[in-house]
Amino acid sequence: MNPQLDTFSYDDDIVRQFTWATIVWGLVGMLVGLLIALQLAFPALNYGPFLSFGRLRPLHTNAVIFAFAGNAFFAGAYYSSQRLLKTRMFSDALSRVHFWGWQLIIVSAALTLPAGFTQAKEYAELEWPIDIAIAVVWVVFAINFFGTIARRRERHLYVAIWFYIASIVTVAILHIFNNLSVPAGPLKSYSIYAGVQDAFMQWWYGHNAVAFFLTTPFLGLMYYFMPKAADRPVFSYRLSILHFWTLVFLYIWAGPHHLHYTALPEWASTLGMVFSVMLWAPSWGGMINGLLTLRGAWRKVVEDPVLKFFVVAVTAYGMATFEGPMLSVKSVNALAHYTDWIIAHVHTGALGWNGFLTFGMIYWMAPRLFQTRLHSQKLAELHFWLATFGMILYATAIYSAGLTQGLMWRAFDETGRLQFPDFVETTMRLMPMYYLRAVGGALYISGMVLFLYNILRTWQARPAAYEVPEIKAAPLAKVYVEPPHPAEPAGALARFARATWHRSWERLPLTFTVMTALAVIVASLFEIIPTFLIKSNIPTIASVTPYTPLELAGRDIYIREGCFNCHSQMIRPFRYETERYGEYSKPGEFVYDHPFLWGSRRIGPDLAREGGKYPNLWHVRHMEAPATITQRSIMPPYPWLLRNAIDFPTIQKRVDAMAMLGVPYGDAVTRAPAMAQEQAGMIAAEIEAAGGPRGLADKEIVALVAYLQRLGTDIRKAPAAAGGGGH
């Protein structure tokens, strides 16, 4: 026996802070989600540039992922890590820097995204100064977390800590490499990758953001808080170890399933599919492990809203991780990609898994954090049922919408023509489902309001001063002696099984972290290096040349307005796509696209071959008031593009940044603004001659029209005649 015990206390203030941030930002993020859902059903709700769908959609996704789920992870991790490691956090100051730094980043996102500052990469929209801030704050968190591990009084690292370590390490790697870019201004940058490679990096990041920001951290929380709430250990610790390593090995490969049938090389796409299908097994192993933790405690589920939330959370995890591998199968993906089916899939995971786990966790922590009883169990029950019905309504409506869309897009009539050639017709068919979705979302949010009220009232009943319990625990011995394992059998396999390597990792966080990082990095490199370095993956097309300076400026406006949130630029090699949109997209067409703008959803039609389809004046009228040109169109109007002046002087900086990335800009590196003005003058004159508005030569609409008219036209040109930035 070691009679000497250290006395210390846990820092629960930081947990309380992250808990409040979770609830407040969660409500904000979900309200923005409701607004954009209503904008699809009622396009008149698009108010001006700052509140238009294209700018608000990334605000919604960033808010719920990084503000709601992020703060929830931090709250749970700070609570559980201190207790599992039997020590206070390494540094209270670093905890505060982490908290306030993260909230500042969220505020920056809330200001810059509606203002149109975006990198146009999903879940990585924030511009370069904010990206740097994220990296810094993440490093602060990592130092604090690993410092806490170093000062622990518990030799073995519980499996929840492994999940936290994998999340912290992998998110850092993903964030840094996907966001590498060349600045072209204080809040403007271009990805260093182009086209196929940029798409590959983005979805390597994008899928693993789901994996290592929304899945592994929450699995860590599940493995701590479910046993706590059920008051019994996890069903199988062995299964949890297998769950961990299998997820770390497999997840990192799965990204390319977001790019099936695009210009991504076939082998990468297949690899993404195979690893995604394999993910089904560990995910369901984890789900079963979670649910069976409640064995013998099902009676408690009836009485305890916390366990109710956990049961639905783990069930939603199971549903989402069954559906994910299914959607990664190419033939299923061909139907689901670009449709609302993917939105339904994401929301099953986000509302069900992340949301419900967070609600359960906070309801469990609140009485302990605020040292009083939960204000109302009944309100918590009501929250549970509102959220459950809201989620079911949401999912049912949007799954139906997705299937309807996918089937209508591919339908041919008996004469072999597209049955629904008018895209708007397919959109109108979704309207009832969009209304239902909004009702479901509103129900879920009303539950969220009850949640806020309940926690607020609980907080109001807190004691005048929080009691800070003194914790006693024995320090770790300087030398660890491996305990004997007399029960283990002899033989070669037994020697391997007895080997202390994994037990050592469990005690040696540095080795463990290195091994986890290695699994992630090796897997990434096996996919990334061939994609980047094998020339045959991206056959060059001689007639493809850089965008002119004006087209580049127009492309930046397209990015600013978030057009890629509704329009893809990637025609897949299916007859129903080529009939509707034109020649399928080739990898070589995107070599100057920093960033790629293939999109992931078609609320409106694909624009990859938009160039030359309509006259310039059509585009002007269409952007000014879409519904007057395309009846029943739900696209928001962009009248400010006819008023805002093109920022000609900054075009040079943008061209220079692109040239720095290797885009052959020729003359444009010295006279980009002049070239842009010249092209703008010609387009404006043509619009005027066609009976359109006068005086558009310096207006943003002209730059956007120049870009739209260029889209997908290069492959139709002879190499010598091709236009371009410096030619």
């Binding site: 070691n2 073995h156 690899l271 006693k472 370095l533």
Partner: protein, 65 residues
């Protein structure tokens, strides 16, 4: 000769399949390691860690001096 030419000649696209096999072997190794009998006590002790918030907390086996 450029790096991309060397990489193009190296036939790297097949490496992904090799990686798949390597990771599968690692998976089998971990599975054997974890499910080998005779570690029940160790696993049980680890699984009880979240429930072990009670104090005072004495040192565990291996850390006792």
């Amino acid at each position: 000769m450029r790096l991309s030419d060397i990489m193009a000649g190296a036939g790297l696209s097949g490496y992904a399949q090799i990686a798949l096999i390597l990771f599968f072997v690692a998976f089998i190794a971990i599975a054997i390691r974890i499910f080998w009998p005779g570690r029940d006590h160790e696993m049980d002790a680890a699984s009880r860690m979240p429930l072990d918030d009670e104090h005072p907390q004495t040192a565990r086996t291996g850390d006792r001096s």
